[in-house]
């Protein structure tokens, strides 16, 4: 075996070609996903009790006044569709960040308690304190960050071990859920629709007032997370290797956690903890893209697509109008079975 300092030209060629091929696959998947999101968005605007052709919808979106369509599309459907996209992007991005960071597809923020913390706080603010709008968003974000910090501090014992963090998160999630249940049981008149929003997530009754803070949060924290792409990929190799590659592990983790938690909290304050979107988006994106680079962007798009499609199904596919979170929550079960089948085949670890 000899060590050569100058590589063979053929090797350089192999390396470069492989890299270009991987990038091309990733670009293709991202393009297709983006197209699918646009189509699903358009369908959400067109379909409903009354159907409006694409022309009318486009004119309403561009601001002109179309009788009938202006109210239905502009006031009812547009905030709902925008919130679906914003929440989906936020949940997908935050979920894949946690899964990448903790190196475990099951370790999404909805499984480890952060979403349930935000949800419990938002429910408390709305049901008990009677707040609304920005105050609710602020409560949700503050308590989600608090919960994340609590999990992080409880998991800290000679450094943070991923396994401990996940398990503690599960404990905190159980507490968050029972706080939500408690809050809802205290609500004077039991409003089942409102309860469902905070237990499983729902887009019913979306307004611009609820949507705008989530959109702003996405525009602020989305780029922050994207800026961490490379460091996050290095973290996949293990903390020690990442650190040896010059990643400041704890700092990267904290930035990523804060940004991801903020995205989650704002989205949760707007539409509740839409079940399993952050759990499903990353692994689905990984299936589509393959091991060809960062999953942040594809997972965000998958998240948006999931919420849009699940909301369409929930509203029109069955006799009953299901809130979007029930549909995505039910989707989680087959995915778990799929994990079994695949892991049995590859012998890989979860």
């Amino acid at each position: 075996m000899t060590a050569v300092v100058t590589p063979l030209p053929s090797t350089v060629d192999t390396v470069a070609r492989g890299r270009v091929r991987r990038a091309a696959r990733r670009r293709l998947v991202i393009t297709l996903l983006a197209l699918a999101v646009v189509v699903a968005f358009a369908v959400t605007l067109m379909v409903g009790r009354t159907f409006y052709p694409p022309g009318d919808v486009l004119r309403v979106v561009l601001g002109s006044d179309v009788p009938g369509a202006s109210f239905t599309v502009g006031t009812l459907r547009l905030p709902r569709a925008v919130l679906a996209v914003v929440a989906g992007l936020s949940f997908g991005l935050a979920g894949v960040t946690f899964q990448t960071m903790l190196r475990n597809p099951l370790a999404s923020p909805d499984v480890i308690g952060i979403t349930s913390g935000a949800s419990a706080a938002a429910a408390f603010a709305i049901v008990i304190l009677g707040w609304s709008g920005t105050a609710v968003s602020v409560t949700a974000i503050v308590s989600a960050l608090g919960v994340a910090l609590l999990i992080y501090m409880l998991a800290f014992k000679d450094g943070v071990a991923g396994t401990r963090l996940i398990l503690i998160g599960i404990g905190v999630a159980a507490m968050g859920k029972s706080v939500t249940s408690y809050v809802l049981s205290k609500a004077g008149a039991w409003d089942f629709a409102e309860a469902l929003r905070w237990l499983t997530g729902s887009l019913n009754g979306s307004t611009w007032e609820a949507t705008v803070p989530a959109l702003v949060a996405l525009l602020v924290f989305g780029p922050v997370l994207l800026g961490q792409t490379r460091d996050l990929s290095a973290l996949q190799l293990g903390d020690d290797t990442a650190s040896a590659l010059g990643v400041r592990v704890e700092r990267t983790r904290i930035i990523a956690i804060v940004a991801a938690v903020a995205l989650l909290a704002f989205a949760t304050a707007a539409c509740g903890p839409i079940a399993f979107v952050s759990f499903l988006a990353g692994p689905i994106a990984a299936r589509l893209v393959g091991p060809n680079g960062s999953l942040l962007v594809p997972a965000a798009l998958v998240g948006a697509l999931l919420v849009l499609v699940a909301d369409l199904c929930g509203q029109y596919a069955f006799g009953t109008r299901y809130p979007v979170g029930v549909i995505t929550g039910v989707l989680g079960a087959p995915y778990l079975i799929y994990l079994i089948v695949r892991s049995n085949r590859t012998g890989g670890s979860l």
Binding site: M1, T2, A3, V4, V5, T6, P7, L8, T11, V12, T14, V15, A16, G18, R19, R22, R103, K157, D158, G227, R230, S233, A234, Q236, L237, G238, D239, D240, T241, S243, A244, L245, G246, V247, R248, A286, G290, P291, N292, G293, T346, G348
Partner: protein, 278 residues
Amino acid sequence: MTATHSLAAEDLTLAYGERTVIEGLDLLVPPGRITAVVGANACGKSTLLRSMSRLLAPRSGRVLLDGKAVHRLPAKELARTLGLLPQSPIAPEGITVADLVGRGRHPHQRVFSRWSKEDDAAVAAALDATETTPLADRAVDELSGGQRQRVWIAMALAQQTDLLLLDEPTTFLDVAHQIEVLDLLTDLNRTRGTTIVMVLHDLNLAARYADHLVALSGGQIHAAGTPEDVLTEECVRAVFGLDSQVIVDPTSGKPLMLPMGRHHTAPRADVLQGTSGS
């Protein structure tokens, strides 16, 4: 690349919580040579290596790279000079060999910078050096243990550091693959002048491949120097609590340690005459 970097530990004390692992240790890594760290289980070998590569902050004392404390250096700057291969690195599911080796370019890239020609060249050189070029498009999961270890070394090579620390690079490998990995590291040292520090389990392989042997015991350096100076019967007894016989390895001329347990151990004269014991 020239091996002008110096790495040293000064009065280093390392601890996990309340438990002190290394206490008041001084160590000078000879530049351009291969250093092997040996010692009993849980004597702090890996801890020492982790601290030298900034993974573990010292309780007191310093680790100096070219006279500057490594824990003060910017992370990426350090990562361009000093690489570390941990004992059990994690390969993301399904990642290809070329992609994984490319991750070694991290300290040379900026946040949104594009992949450069130098990056391709460095990855290619690392693949060539470890003879993993034919594996470039294979998934890391599918490789054998020996191949996988070569890929990880290739990743560390793509990092293009003058110093390379390895934590037990031969664990879980059969004897042929152990030799393959150690030969590869020796090639690197000889052709590029890379300074290598590795923790090794096998005393005899350490004595054969290292220029400089460091024996740790109870959080302190028990002995350091050439294998001939360090690997003695007294040292084995002090460090491992094991009686042994050290002879000259007929293959390499380095010292070779033969452990002596309670059974199958004849008096010395019998061994030399080749008769069997009880």
